[in-house]
């Protein structure tokens, strides 16, 4: 937990599509809680369930996958494969007594500054509720 007692969220973004959306949000000074941290990867379908589990283990309250959706430059199967990662991880989470709602995924395009901020702030609120 961060100094202000807020839950922490780990975001997996993608280098070409969803990370630019987060950058744009910053550029436009669209604020979101500072306890949201990003790790950027090439494609959302390369995220390993064990990374997500590690994040929960180490104290993150939520993990958000900012997926490429149909804009993924590696092909159409990306969305389906990312969902598969989520499904697999949900199983692992259940085994550990974590709530499936602690892992979220949404397709974010490179200029979706507003939607991504909405998703993240909404997710934070949910986690805060869960915590209290």
């Amino acid at each position: 937990m961060a100094s202000n007692g807020q839950p922490k969220i780990l975001v997996f973004s993608t280098e070409k599509i969803s990370d630019p959306a987060l950058d744009l949000a910053g550029l436009l000074k669209k604020h979101y809680p500072f306890t949201i941290y990003t790790i950027s990867v090439p494609c959302s379908s390369c995220i390993k369930p064990r990374w997500i589990m590690r994040a929960f283990d180490k104290g993150f309250s939520g993990v958000f996958i900012a997926a490429d959706g149909t804009d993924c430059s590696y092909g159409e199967s990306c969305g389906e494969k990312t969902s598969q990662v989520v499904t697999t991880t949900h199983q692992l989470m259940r085994d550990k007594g974590l709530k499936p709602s602690q892992l979220k995924m949404a397709a974010i395009c490179s200029v979706c500054a507003e939607p991504v901020v909405k998703h993240l702030t909404g997710f934070m609120k949910e986690l805060e509720k869960m915590q209290s």
Binding site: I17, L24, L28, D71, S73, S110, V111, E114
Partner: protein
């Protein structure tokens, strides 16, 4: 199969020349030609008259028929172009004269307009915009909103640096004081640069039809009659407002009409041909609007639907299935009610009757026009135009990228209206033709 930029080969045998190729216009056509030639190892100078590269595509919302986000698919290409070691980009640059010399080199003089901001030092923080007192219409949002006299053209501009629109600047110096990187420079002057190149690609794109000349549609008089390009901006993820709004009162529209073939297939405006993309972009916008405003009624008044390309007919059928109301009709005129709503008078072809219908927003599906000013720049040999004022392709069926001047090639909508996939292919053809020409040189 990605190009490897970091150790790109230099195939240039430029010698006394400055560049192997000059590409005029940095829309998707110019970028694609430049990238292909640069990947082959040629040295390319890409000049663009606007402050950002990217052409029209970078300003679009999503693109038919796949509905990918235009920004997502074009900005990687834009940055690849900007980063390529074999490509030099100059924005705010316009060719003044091109003379073909006896040794077959082209002597090119171009004008570099000042930005009044040191391009390499500006961090794009937009602090200057907050203090500039001058508010003017924003041409990159097609006048839907305003900008300052010092401004960054749009969020995903490349280069993403500020410039001063000196005509509207009062020289108050507020930005200069505010700028954290001290990069404002009012002493910059217009420069004339002369270079020599071996070949030229004309990729100057198209102009949009200005519907002000069709008086019966009332564009410019009726606030709620807008162009499709304005609607592109309203639908873009980087849109000026949070939702689709109609201009007169900021209300969310729920009875939207599209008028196809505005400024196309119309001898009275001097443009007899079909613009090739407006049926499909209107269909795209209809789908996006149905997504954004599920309750809205969208009527599209058309003559014929040109849904000819790969996946297009399927895309059109999908729009119909979603509930878009296609009306085969000839528009007579539009009149405005006091509440800003618009009455469309049209002949319904299926019933044969003249009918009236009320809408609260009318979008004109404006056509594409030839942008032929560039021909004036060619001073000795003539760059010929066809009867429609597009760059003439003398060997249309065998070598479509060649022009009336040997060593000058053409790409994209400079030759004819076309969509993005066709533009990319035409640009590839221009790169291929240019490379073949340059190989003969040595």
């Amino acid at each position: 199969m990605e190009a490897t930029n970091n150790d790109s080969m230099n195939r240039s045998n430029a010698g006394t020349t400055d560049y192997d190729v000059l590409v005029i216009g940095a829309g998707i056509a110019g970028e694609e030609s430049a990238l292909k030639l640069a990947d082959m190892g040629f040295k390319v100078l890409l000049i663009e008259k606007e402050p950002s590269i990217g052409g029209k595509m970078i300003l679009l919302s999503k693109v038919f028929p796949t509905l990918d986000c235009a920004a997502c698919i074009t900005t990687p290409k834009v940055s690849e172009t900007a980063r390529h070691p074999n490509i030099t980009i100059l924005t705010l640059a316009e060719a003044e004269s091109i003379v073909k010399e006896e040794n077959n080199l082209f002597s090119v003089t171009f004008k570099k307009h000042p930005r009044y901001v040191v391009e390499n030092d500006c961090t794009g923080c937009q602090e200057c915009e907050t203090v500039c007192p001058m508010v003017v219409k924003d041409q990159f949002q097609f006048n839907l909103v305003a900008r300052k006299a010092i401004y960054i053209p749009f969020n995903i501009a490349n280069p993403r640096v500020a410039l001063i629109d000196i005509e509207n600047c009062t020289l108050c110096g507020a930005c200069e004081q505010k700028c954290p990187s001290n990069c404002i420079d009012f002493t910059q002057k217009e420069e004339l640069v002369n270079i020599k190149v071996k070949s030229v690609i004309v990729a100057t794109g198209f102009k949009l039809f200005d519907p002000i000349s069709i008086e019966r549609y009332g564009y410019g008089r009726y606030k709620n009659v807008i162009t499709s390009m304005q609607m592109e901006r309203e639908l873009a993820p980087t849109r000026p407002f949070n939702s689709v709004l109609r201009p007169s009162d900021g209300k969310v529209p729920d009875k939207i009409a599209y008028i196809f073939c505005t400024g196309s297939r119309d001898h009275t405006v001097g443009n007899p041909i079909c613009s090739q993309v407006c049926c499909m972009y209107s269909t795209k916008q209809a789908q996006l609007l149905m997504g954004a405003l599920p309750m809205a009624d969208i009527s599209l008044y058309y003559i014929n639907i040109r849904a000819f390309g790969k996946g297009f007919n399927e895309f059109y059928m999908q729009a119909k299935d979603m509930g878009a109301n296609y009306v085969k009709g000839k528009i007579g005129s539009i009149s405005e009610k006091e509440n800003g709503n618009l009455i469309l008078r049209y002949e319904d072809i299926v019933t044969g009757k003249v009918t009236e219908k009320e809408h609260d927003l009318v979008v004109l599906s404006v056509g594409l026009l030839a942008n032929h000013e560039i021909t004036k720049v060619f001073k000795n040999e003539k760059l010929e135009l066809d009867a429609l004022k597009y760059i003439k392709q003398p060997d249309l069926l065998q070598s479509p990228a060649t022009t009336s001047i040997k060593g000058v090639f053409v790409a994209g909508t400079a030759t004819s209206p076309m969509d993005i996939p066709d533009t990319i292919m035409s640009a590839g053809a221009a790169a291929s033709e240019t490379s073949g020409y340059l190989n003969q040189w040595s």
